[in-house]
Amino acid sequence: MAEQREPIVRAAGLTKVFRDFWGRPKAKAVNDITFTVEPGEVIGLLGPNGSGKSTTVKMLLGLLYPTGGVLNVLGRSPRAVETKREIGYLPEESYLYKYLTAEETLDFFGSLFNLSRADRRNRIDQLLDMVGMAHARRRRVGEFSKGMARRIGLAQAMINDPEFLILDEPTSGLDPLGCKEVKDLILTLKARGKTVLITSHLLSDIEDVCDRVIILYGGKIRAMGGLGELLTVSEENRIVTPALPQPAMNEVLRILRDNLNGEEFTVDHPRRTLEEFFLDVIMKAKSDNIETAGVSGGGKIAEYLSRGDEKSAVIESLVEEPAAPITPHAEAPVAAPAPESVTEAVMEKKLEQLTEEPKAVEPAPEAPREKSNGKLKEVDAKLNDILGNRK
């Protein structure tokens, strides 16, 4: 039986009231929220502007003090120095010292963790490689574009190999390639059992990497749960197959018409997302060795971040794969067999499932989903290609 671990964050009745100069209540930014963040999960904190996301994050970091309720991070007060030893934080904007070079910046933040000189040097090399900034290590941060500074910000957040990573808009200012790399990194960290809390306005990013989300509005939690249970429309089905010959297609359509009793359905060819297409183009350009003054060669996960993790090797191989599409609900991949090895029996079974009553299809629970075979997912994608998306 798995050992019951303490939650990384435990907030109970957490409240934050901002007051004016005279101590009169001005705004209730966070209003009696209760949630936990479990070890090893990637959790998204969502909400429109002014919903209380940043206030919650600032309280987790000890930058703001709760007005009411209980807040524990890693079993301690968020203000305790010991707590901060295991936290990595990437703020919404990179509040870096502009006159320091990329290397000096990481060295400074490494020193704040009392890392030895050798450790700092080693980690700086790996992190700069990872965020694709090794070529700009001696350039001042002030000269960097927003995306480049963001990458340095991300690197500094991981200099201590944190147990709990708080990323405020991690993909803000990054190009799609950078976004992909960040998401891959988050998945790597998750595979290593690290806990990540992300706030972002880019819902697709959250969807790609998070296990659970908390949606805030007006300082209160409006929705909370696993993405599977929140997003799955159990009343509908979608089947994707390789392109079918016309007779097979006619047969499928006939089955659908017979079973849907006049209800509308759609059959078309799926489209690639712009992100997938863009990544494909860039990967091709990279393979042609076209020079760039910006970010280059990133994506290789720092060794000390993936050390001792069997899954990470697979992730790296996936990361290095050109134009690998990022699937929604992406999880820590496990060893995936090649698509060619899928048997026709499996495909037939899938087609049969399509004819079943929609009620019979249950949303996949979180834990089994994580364990699902990567191979099957690729088969799902193929089926999608064949059958198109059903509305």
Binding site: F18, T55, K58, L61, G62, L63, L64, Y65, V81, E82, K84, R85, I87, Y89, P91, E93, Y95, L96, Y97, Y99, L100, F108, F109, S111, L112, F113, N114, L115, Q156, N160
Partner: protein, 478 residues
């Protein structure tokens, strides 16, 4: 400690990027290079050294004092205002450590600048002094009077309070004897006392023609094997820098001698043994000397004269021998003073540098204390106000005499304020070094204890505590 020194280093680098600091640095450079190379003094070696030291050291300490307050506030507020502090306080570094590291960083840069500037001034002055063709006699004089560290002894203080009360009493008796009405209301008494005190001070500084005035110096080391220096500055007619001329002065030293030892034939003689020091007059010059009024003059008294009595006292008599029989004056602050060589010039110079270094330590701390809890403009305003209150408070509380309710109230407030504020006048020691007067270690300790331990340190601890409790996430960038 790695985190501590990382912040110190960062603060150091950050300081160099502040434009106001760069401006002050430029001024400092000008002060160090221009003042000693352009100052000529009054043409004498003594004048040159005195003026160069006075101007250079005062300017350098003033610029560094301003810079340390500014940079102390800036180092604390800048990080908070632009949110960089979020990146630091979310790391495992306590706020107290951040505060101390920033203080250290700002202080170290000023200490470094102070050492470099003071060394530059020292060597430039020595170089200029050696380059100029001063006669050997004058050089010798400057070596014994200016480029030295001498302990200062002041004559016994006159009790103005008792004298003025006695004068008022006599005046009232005189008026009553004349059959006149005397207003004995407190206000009238106060007014009379004020007038009497002013008269007593004037009389004390007045030197009438041909009227000898005795000065007694106490607590001198009995077996001194070094010469004594008698320093004085007479004014003629009035105490003013203008209208001074040549005048004449005549000094007589009292050479102590114990009564000849007689056989104690009875109990009275026995009781007299070892008592009753007699003084024999020893004129310091054959004739009254001609001196320029309004300027300092020194007389060297060789050790072999044995002027120090067994009770550690030395006595002198001064006689005004002005040709026009005009009154002469000694300002109470001028003495006359008796000086004894204690250490060399370099040691004394470094002692003065140490006092300035202590001043900078306090000022940077004040800047950090206010900067940690306020915005930059407010922190600067509060820090400067605090220091100004200190200067006014010491001035008010040092006033020898005040009259009227408002004055008394002001002085009481000033004395209360002095429990918490720090007057910077105490750190102004360039005048001492320029006059070859020693910066006593005891004085340094008094400054350290009185101003650093009892006033500055509690303020710093309060600043640290408030900084530790501050919700840094509340700061909103405008």
């Amino acid at each position: 400690m790695k985190s501590y020194w990382a912040i110190v280093k960062l603060t150091f680098r950050n300081a160099l990027r502040s434009h106001i600091f760069q401006l002050l640095l430029l001024l400092l450079l000008l002060a160090v290079l221009v003042i000693p190379t352009t100052v000529s003094g009054d043409g004498t070696a003594g004048g040159f050294i005195r003026v160069s030291l006075l101007y250079s050291l005062s300017t350098v300490s003033t610029i560094l004092a301003l810079s340390s307050v500014w940079l102390g506030c800036h180092a604390m507020t800048q990080d908070i205002d632009n949110y960089q502090i979020h990146m630091v306080v979310t790391k495992p570094v306590s706020r107290i450590r951040i505060w101390l590291a920033k203080w250290t960083g700002v202080y170290l840069i000023h200490l470094l600048l102070l050492l470099v500037s003071s060394m530059a001034i020292y060597f430039i002055i020595l170089y200029k002094y050696n380059q100029q063709g001063f006669p050997e006699k004058e050089r010798q004089k400057i070596r014994s009077e200016v480029m030295v560290g001498r302990r200062v002894f002041l004559p016994e203080k006159t009790d103005y309070e008792t004298i003025s009360r006695q004068m008022v009493k006599e005046k009232i008796e005189r008026l009553r004897a004349q059959g006149k009405d005397v207003d004995t209301s407190p206000a009238a008494q106060e007014s009379m006392l004020k007038d009497a005190r002013r008269e007593a001070v004037t009389r004390d500084s007045e030197l009438l023609h041909d009227q000898p005035r005795e000065y007694v110096f106490r607590n001198l080391p009995v077996n001194l094997d070094k010469p004594l220096f008698l320093r004085y500055r007479p004014y003629v007619g009035k105490v003013a820098s203008e209208g001074q001329r040549m005048t004449r002065s005549f000094w007589i030293a009292g050479v102590p001698r114990l009564p000849e030892k007689k056989d104690a034939t009875n109990v009275f003689e026995q009781a007299k043994q070892g008592q009753g020091i007699e003084y024999y007059p020893q004129p310091l010059s054959e004739f009254p000397e001609q001196v320029m009024s309004g300027e300092f003059h020194e007389k060297t008294l060789p050790a072999q004269w044995k002027l120090i009595a067994p009770d550690q006292s030395v006595r002198f008599i001064y006689v005004n021998k002005d040709d026009s029989q005009e009154k002469q004056y000694f300002q109470p602050t001028d003495g006359p003073k008796l000086l004894v060589e204690v250490c060399g010039f370099f040691e004394n110079y470094m002692r003065s540098v140490a006092v300035v270094a202590l001043e900078l330590l306090i000022l940077t701390g004040i800047g950090c204390a206010f900067g940690g809890i306020l915005t930059l403009p407010t922190a600067i305003f509060v820090a400067i106000s605090y220091l100004l209150f200190g200067s006014f408070a010491i001035y008010m509380s040092n006033l020898d005499y005040v009259a009227g309710t408002a004055d008394h109230l002001g002085q009481s407030i000033a004395r209360l304020l002095l429990w918490i504020v720090i007057p910077l006048q105490g750190f102004e020691i360039s005048g001492l070094v320029a006059n070859g007067e020693i910066v006593e270690l005891k004085y340094f300790w008094l400054l350290f204890k009185g101003y650093f331990l009892f006033r500055a340190l509690p303020l710093f601890l309060l600043g640290m505590l408030l900084y530790r409790r501050r919700e840094l996430g509340l700061v909103i960038r405008k």
